[in-house]
Symmetry: D2
């Protein structure tokens, strides 16, 4: 933990498992989204406030690498950081762990949009706050 | 099939199964919603047009009775009819079948709301069209 | 809180919302299941241990009454108790709240099955532990 | 359509939308899985038969590029082909379209596992059948 990473924890839900007995692969994107919610809260700007202010962060790209399966009721930890922050895009990177064992890694890239659906720049203040968590950046 | 019922068919998705190897119980409500979409299309007023016109049908009550489990890739048929139509509420009733075997039954009750979130009466024309499918009604 | 109820808390996920801007109606059944997981943990027998021991609790009936919508990131509390406990069935009852405001109520009834898919009686010890939380029962 | 691609079609479900009014990003992975089910059926070996025979295809990597949002009730078409087939892994590639407009692209890579959870080679006959759909391969 180097001050650039945020962590969140939860248990795998029964609804998230499939007949193979493990967490279904699409659920990892849901977990990433839960992580982003906690990330933005840690940054000091809850995502719902962002949307209330007319700034949306739709996803332009998502990737997941699955290493070990997660099972029902497993205590999962997700860690996130920023790995690319520009005025018009942001990339989050994620690690999914259970008891310190790496289960999956992934990333999502987002393009800030206004309520009108058009691309926007991140406001200066938000950019400054986010840059603190940028692994590739200054701060 | 007596002209008051509408049917739809689909296969159980892998994502809908759980570690017990069967379709997760909440998915039946998703299937009911898919059914309502096809129902309204059969009625001649696609639900998305209804919402586009400012009329929403949020659910006030839902019930499901589960008899036999559904499994991955099963060819499922859902049949729906109306079992209570008033100017300010509508109740749909559902049967879920596989090869003619009854898997589940259920119902959902909806309260028409306007875009402002306030209760509304069903417009006369919609009420007339829906009443054709009302098991308890005239038509 | 009278010792017969168990509570759990979480935030509404973005994935759980729909285009109406509120938590999708099927998600309440997912929340009930999360609640049951915490319930069984409070009872001292995690549900995953139950399944590992060959006892399953599939749902035979589910009901939800929706009163007020839940929105993204809302801090939700679910409270559950038992409202009918027999050797061959159990009914849980639920309240969903936000800041003390009642959003929804519901119930689920479960039939204990063995790994072979046949109905089973609850083991005596489990029945005793569960009866402590039975609103309609002794203890 | 060159004989190496398989297509499937469906409508966006209400449950798949989020408060932004569009299909939630994780749902594309569900659609890819629906596509794979239809793909294997076209290949002549339904995926459920594969699992019944003790061969599983868990995902080792998934990627999605989102270009345009999909909305409730949109008639979606997904097209898939194989873009890398080896004895111990397979990569599917996907296009998601609406009225010929490209909404998203993606890929998933799978590692064949036996019922014991250990890696397996694809059986010869399956490999032969799949190779017909391999964009990068011979056939």
């Amino acid at each position: 933990m180097d001050g650039k990473r945020v962590r969140t924890a939860f248990r795998v839900r029964y609804s998230e498992t499939d007949r193979m007995g493990v967490a279904y692969y699409a659920e990892y994107l849901v977990w990433f989204e839960v992580m982003r919610g906690d990330f933005m809260r840690a940054v000091g700007i809850p995502y719902r406030d962002l949307e209330a202010g007319g700034l949306y962060l739709p996803i332009s790209e998502a990737r997941v690498r699955y290493r070990q399966p997660a099972r029902y009721d497993d205590a999962i930890e997700v860690e996130a950081a920023i790995e690319g922050l520009k005025s018009r895009s942001i990339t989050f990177t994620y690690k999914v762990e259970r008891d310190g064992q790496l289960l999956a890694t992934g990333s999502t890239t987002h393009i800030p949009l206004g309520a009108d659906g058009h691309p926007r720049r991140f406001p200066r203040e938000l950019l400054d706050r986010l840059s603190v968590y940028d692994l590739t950046g200054g701060a």
